[in-house]
Structures are given as C-alpha cells and as structure tokens.
Symmetry: C2
Subunit: 137 residues, 2 copies
Amino acid sequence: MTTQVLADTLRSRGISPTQQRLAVYSYLLAHRTHPTADTVYQALCRDYPTMSRTTVYNTMRALFRAGLLRIVTIDAEEQHFDADTADHGHFRCTQCGELFDFDLPADTMRQCAPSGFQTDLFDVYATGLCPHCQATH
Amino acid sequence: MTTQVLADTLRSRGISPTQQRLAVYSYLLAHRTHPTADTVYQALCRDYPTMSRTTVYNTMRALFRAGLLRIVTIDAEEQHFDADTADHGHFRCTQCGELFDFDLPADTMRQCAPSGFQTDLFDVYATGLCPHCQATH
DNA sequence: GTTCCTGCAAAAGCTTTGCAGAAGA
DNA sequence: TCTTCTGCAAAGCTTTTGCAGGAAC
C-alpha cells in the first residue's frame, strides 16, 4: 500500500495524515504481531528520532476511534494493537505469552451478540497453551 | 451459602479459608456486579478495618488460580472480577460504563476454540450501547 | 516452632495530562 | 495567523513486591 493510499484512508476518516501517524499506521499494517505501544515506539524511534510514546498513544487513540484498529485487552498488563478489524479471535499462550489470531465460525458475532444491546465491537479471547508450548510441556 | 460451605469450597481448592478470604469470596458471590479490586476493598474495609488492597489482590489471584473466579479485562483501565465461572459473555456500555452478563449459544466455546490450541479459558466481550443508554441517546 | 497469611509502605510500569514549541494551511 | 499536532516532563493509577509482624496449628 502506498503512502498516498494510507494518507487517503486516514483523511477519509477525519485524521490528518501526519508523518508520525502514517509511520504508526503503516507499521501496524505491516506487522500483524499485535504489538504494544512500546513495541511500536521502539521500532519507529530509529527511523523517526523525535517519535515519542505520547504520539504513539495519541495516534492509537485516533485510529481506534476511527475504527481503523482494534485494542486487544486479553493481556491485563498492557494493551495490544491490531490493524486487522475483521472479525477474528485472539489466543494468548500462558507459557510463551504470544498472541495468535484465529478464525471464528461464520456469523459468530450475530449469533452471540446479546439482543436488546447495540453491539459495536465484538471480541473473542481464548487462553491456554499454543501448539508449540504443548509439545515442550 | 453458609460460611461453612464457603470454607469447604476454598479448602477443596487448596486455599486456607481465612477470615479475609471468606469475606472477599462471599462478597463476590453476593454481588454479581463485576466489581473492581478497589470496589471490593471499599466495601469490605468497613466491616474488616484491617482489610488491605494487598489482601484483596492476593485473594483474587488465589481464587483465580483455583478456578473460582474470572478476571474480566474488557475494560483496559482496570480488572473486574466475576465469581460466575460458567460460560457467559460480557457486555460493556460505552456510555454508562456498566458491565452486563449475557448468555452464549450452546457450544459456542467448542465451536469457536481454535484447533491445535489447548484452550483453558474462553471469553466473549461485546461493547456498545446498553438498552437504557440507547433510549436516552 | 514452623509455616503460611496479612497488610503497610514503597516500587513498578503503563498510560494520560499539561504545556510550550513546531508544523501546516 | 490560527489551528492542530508533537513530544518532553510530570503526574496518575492500578497492581505488584519487600518485608516485618501476626495468626494458625
């Protein structure tokens, strides 16, 4: 995706496409590893020496409000960010701590959403042992 | 539920039933409002003047490890505790901030759990507007 | 007497806020 | 010029840790 397309995406959601915001958003799109704010900061401060954590947090909030990313709270310690806004579940391995995506059966959201409530966001979290940690257990 | 039954429940899970732990667990069972650690502390420190936040956290961790409660992380700000360990979803209203339980279709957990992973815990979170806040919107 | 539990005080660590300067239109 | 954005510094808050005293058996 070109910078121009990214910039248009941000603009269409009412977010001015500054250099920092483009850097953050493009990092999230390129790294589907559910990074934390600090991970994003550490990765970007090399190329953008003036990048700050504040800007990362500001940008995340803006992107979240615009519906361009999900905040994964499966880990109580810190927030993970995910630019994949399509329906999918998140699995956290209690041993290695890694986060995995997994597919949800079709229509899960529709079937599970409580009636009478207006559901805007829907998250499915699972915790346990990932295949690799099961083997080395 | 009598104190004796509660004490036996804790003992059967390997937790010595101290006064403080009984107080915390019995509060959780009586108040299905997904309280935070501070809410529990504030409620109990009247009757148990020496109760401390540390003890609340210690007890929560012990109960969680014993499988007697769930930790709800739908709110990134703080953890909510839920003594209902049966499968159910949690809904958070973005306007009033309240947490609601909702039923999940039968077998949701089995259908959604990713294959190859050993799933120990399974959480479904939804966010949006509760019926009351929809009306006053 | 030994072990486990409690809880004060302090630390840890993520996230937010205040605010002054910079950037952009 | 006016508004918005950035980012340093500091604060805020929940949760954890260290540790000494106490309870239980």
